[in-house]
Assembly symmetry: C2
Homo-oligomer: 139 residues x 2
Amino acid sequence: LHSEEFLEINIQDLMIPSERVAHVQVKNSLEHALLVLTKSGYSAIPVLDPQFKLHGLISTPLIMDAILGLERIEFEKLETQCVEEIMNQEIPRIQIDSSLKTCLSLLIDHPFLCVENKEGLFEGILTRRAVLIQLNENA
Amino acid sequence: LHSEEFLEINIQDLMIPSERVAHVQVKNSLEHALLVLTKSGYSAIPVLDPQFKLHGLISTPLIMDAILGLERIEFEKLETQCVEEIMNQEIPRIQIDSSLKTCLSLLIDHPFLCVENKEGLFEGILTRRAVLIQLNENA
Ligand SMILES: Nc1ncnc2c1ncn2[C@@H]1O[C@@H]2COP(=O)(O)O[C@H]3[C@@H](O)[C@H](n4cnc5c(N)ncnc54)O[C@@H]3COP(=O)(O)O[C@H]2[C@H]1O
Ligand SMILES: Nc1ncnc2c1ncn2[C@@H]1O[C@@H]2COP(=O)(O)O[C@H]3[C@@H](O)[C@H](n4cnc5c(N)ncnc54)O[C@@H]3COP(=O)(O)O[C@H]2[C@H]1O
């Protein structure tokens, strides 16, 4: 594991660019988000606004938790509630020029990190998979 | 990154033991599996049989995909179908004495690996998080 080479790697080379990242809008219904999550097969995806700013993450467990009533699953909530009401807003954000070392410690607790530019526009995601591929090549 | 030290690490020291791993049984209904997944917050968990043998993994997207009909979400399937019918059986299995190097390459495409003993009994899971923590300590 040649640490100098590994930690010099540029985030931009490892990240998945925004046009290839499945995402939903803040005002989308829970039903729409559930369809996008199920069809993409991803467990969590970013939530953006029409200006392409990042607002949070949505996942299938978060949606199921919101519609799970005491007696039954309240499926009607899928149409009445929107993503903004239940998304997770406490998410780490990194810049394109953040160091890989900063990202490594954030990736311990997050399967992926959202990359923003200086104006706060969503640029893409850095996944654990991308980092593990590099680790394997350097091991 | 001191590769000798890092790759010498013993899987048993990093793995989550079976008693702390959320799991379901092959004959459980999809409804039961959806409740365990939602309550635990995990996106995928192991499927075991009564002899504690590993049969596959179940996840919320797999369940949603199974009940998503053309016209509507067919919620009645949650009670009529069981986990065994839709679980993912193509999963990598490792032994307690597998090398960390083998695990590293498997973890590229799998968020966690299931650990079995020589008789095929489920021992626990090795997660990407556990490996990333070690990587950070050695970086
Ligand atoms: N369609 C697919 N093709 C190949 N492999 C697949 C796959 N879907 C999932 N995987 C594998 O499973 C891992 C976990 O996926 P998960 O959806 O839980 O968790 C994913 C998902 O929540 C998110 N993610 C990854 N790619 C995405 C994308 N293009 N758009 C939106 N979210 C994405 O980042 C998390 C971590 O991704 P990572 O790649 O490290 O890790 C992925 C990858 O190794
Ligand atoms: N209750 C919690 N407390 C703290 N952090 C949490 C957490 N739930 C999730 N996380 C964080 O989110 C990551 C992804 O969790 P996920 O459920 O998608 O994916 C998880 C889950 O499918 C499975 N997993 C982890 N621990 C488990 C357990 N005790 N029982 C069953 N499955 C488990 O292994 C995957 C990878 O786990 P990993 O730890 O590498 O990565 C976890 C961890 O960093």
